[in-house]
Amino acid sequence: MATPNNKNAEGQGFVYLPLIAGWLVPGAGHFLLRKWGRGALLSASILGMFVLGIAMQGQLYGSAHDILDILGMAGDLGTGMLYFLSRLLGLGADLVQVTTADYGTRFIVVAGLLNVISAVDAHNLRTGRKV
């Protein structure tokens, strides 16, 4: 539905840019919209969660063999560039062997899900659904 804010958003460049930027780099969507404080907090939270997950030897899902793997990989992909960069650098464990690593795996998946929420929030700010 076209609200006054939506009308203002039209014709000001690519509407989905904050959504895509926010997905690729945590907090970037908010930075593009000049929401510096929110972006910094979101970036620190998501990056912190992801880095702690990796530090706990959490698993990065590289292939999907069953439904749980598919869901885990979908969550991991939510972190955007962090996921691809970590896969390139060979970070994360291949097998979860200790309890802490299981926590780490969840931290990484949840970091991805939180990043998706954050990117959608940036999109809502961009379209005027949220102020």
Binding site: R38, L41, L42, A44, S45, I46, G48, M49, L52, A55, M56, Q57, T100, Y103, R106, F107, V110, A111, L114, I117, S118, V120, D121, K130, V131
Partner: protein, 59 residues
Amino acid sequence: MFKPSHFAAVVLFALFASVVFGITQRETPQRMVRYGLYCFVLFVGSAIVLSWLMFLIAR
């Protein structure tokens, strides 16, 4: 390798998730802080309650 205790892991998880929930689910800074704190207390509180419940069931 970072090896937090179970409780430290819960607190860290709750902290990061609450910050994101607070910022994304509310519109004004004051309401963001209040909702973030609310989520943090619920995360940690429910973990403590469930832990005691499991402890008592297991006895």
